[in-house]
Amino acid sequence: MAAVAEHAGLPKLTPARMRAGDVLRVGAVGLRTRPLRAFLSALGIAIGIAAMIGVVGISSSSGAELDRTLSALGTNLLTVSSGQTLMGEPAKMPVEAEAMIERIGPVEAVSAAGRVGAAKVYRSEEVPKAQTNGINTYAARLDLPATVGATLRSGTWLNAATQRYPAAVLGSSAAQRLGVGAAGPDTQVVVGGKRFTVVGVLDPVPLADELDTAVLVGWPIAEAELDFDGYPTTLYTRAEEARLEAVRSVLAGTANPEAPNEVDVSRPSDALAAKQATSQAFTGLLLGVGAVALLVGGVGVANTMVISVLERRSEIGLRRSLGATRGQIRTQFLAESLLLSALGGAGGVLLGTGVTMGYALYQGWPAVIPAWATAGGLAATLAIGAVAGLYPAIRASRLSPTEALATP
């Protein structure tokens, strides 16, 4: 109050507020005069943000792809497979299982495959017996692809005529292991010691991946030529989505009334979703790595700012002599730090988006980058910029003007 009395009659001195545009312009001085250094320290932040956006984006894109696959394939497929007896021997489902399941009200479709255990598959008779390539032979019903949602990459599926003859359809992995590129009248494989013509090759079947390593032949020819016992080992059932649980609970008892415990019932779409959940745990780990990169970037910005304050002592002194208050000096360096990291953050978001888009395009996935990831990334950069710039800015503002001007 003494000051007011003392200076009565003189105009009151009030430091002018800087406009937002001037704060930005003054904050950008350091970046404009040392562009390479600004670029490099922004790059540290950019890499951290890009890593995080990329990890989140790729994982979300893969999740979106799974959702798309599941909605295309349907989640209403139930698989009934024969398990083991109490004695640990392979169990058998009755031959009538298929027909009995079909009689359950909400069931829309049933198909079956029976494993032909004895029939090993080779590319030719010359291949040593031990090299089975892990390929199994299955006898398949004609409606199998329709029920499990399998599509053909090449050739055709078995029909009423070819199922009686030595014709085979290869699963995608089986075709690869046997070295069969496409189906054709001249392409033959040896199944259980007999030559079968490859009439088709399947695409990968997400809901029944056991078919990927299978060679599928007609039910009649398997019984006639390959010593197939005629018992189905896996039943594929489509049921009304709304009553799926009810169907699921009676499937085992219906398939094998005598020994329901010898039957395993599963829902393949659950397994796919579970796989997705596992990969999400991995995403968490990668996200942590990205966060470390971001932290290192933040340290880089802090380092740049400390050096900047040391180098620009005479500029600080000049600005103080021109009438800058301590607060305005502090604001200038804080603005510079925020600008630096915001530039890095924006670059990182662009880079991360680019990487995600590129990878999704390459994989044929829909590219999805959650808005929370972008917003969170930018918020994190601003927080880092503020923290990294705070100490250098306070140091700059505490410099005495005479001391700052004395440094050449």
């Binding site: 003189l10 003054v26 800058a324 607060g327 001007l405």
Partner: protein, 226 residues
């Protein structure tokens, strides 16, 4: 304009740069503060320029008692009342002359367009109207000091403090800068020039000689006594 009463500035460690100095400078004066290095003349400039506060004594600038002003109000005083010219110019590299001058007004609260207009006018006034877009490295030493002077006077401060303004210049450029300062003084600005150059000091109406932190001679006081 400037009133120092018994001003002492001592530093920790026992160095006394100003020792009970009293000095009055009126509006419109052109004063040289002259003395060898270590005489306390730079400290005097810092104290008069409110960049430094005295350890004891009273400093009044344009009527304001410096000791009673907060950092913010002192900054406002510098922004509106005092212009500084330094020996080494302190221009920002790679920034055109007009922006170097205009940026000097950023703390006065004037809008950007008006700042540039005033900067152009100030550069015109110091005879650099044809060099507005030249960057400091494209200018001669004398021209750089003129840009620095333009920056100091762009806000029309009543007081201009110059610290060895010709110290880094050859004699021809130095003479040009001195002529400019005389012109500014003739237009009403109070100017205090710190120098160790006796010749320059002698060319000014009033000389204040300093040695060991004290004023040993003041031509105005002698005139009064005589």
């Amino acid at each position: 304009m400037i009133s120092l009463i018994d001003v002492t500035r001592s530093y920790p460690g026992g160095v006394t740069a100003l020792d009970k100095v009293s000095l009055e400078i009126e509006h419109g004066e052109l004063v040289a503060i002259v003395g060898p290095s270590g005489s306390g003349k730079s400290t005097m400039l810092n104290v008069v320029g409110t960049l430094d506060r005295p350890s004891s004594g009273t400093v009044r600038i344009d009527g304001y008692d410096v000791a009673k002003l907060s950092d913010g109000r002192l900054s406002a005083l510098r922004a509106t009342r005092i212009g500084f010219v330094f020996q080494h110019f302190h221009l920002a590299a790679k920034i055109p002359a007009i922006d170097n001058v205009a940026d000097g007004l950023v703390y006065t609260g004037i809008g950007r367009a008006e700042r540039r207009r005033r900067a152009a006018a100030a550069l015109e006034r110091v005879g650099l109207g044809h060099r507005l877009d030249h960057e400091p490295h494209e200018l001669s030493g004398g021209e750089r000091q003129r840009v620095a002077i333009a920056r100091a006077v762009a806000g029309d401060p009543p007081l201009l403090l110059a610290d060895e303004p010709t110290g880094a210049l050859d004699s021809v450029s130095g003479a040009g800068v001195m002529d400019l300062l005389h012109d500014l003084n003739a237009a009403g600005t109070t100017i205090v020039i710190i120098t160790h150059d006796l010749e320059i000091a002698a060319s000014l109406p009033r000389q204040v000689r300093m040695r060991d932190g004290q004023i040993v001679a003041d031509s105005a006081a002698e005139a009064r006594v005589a």
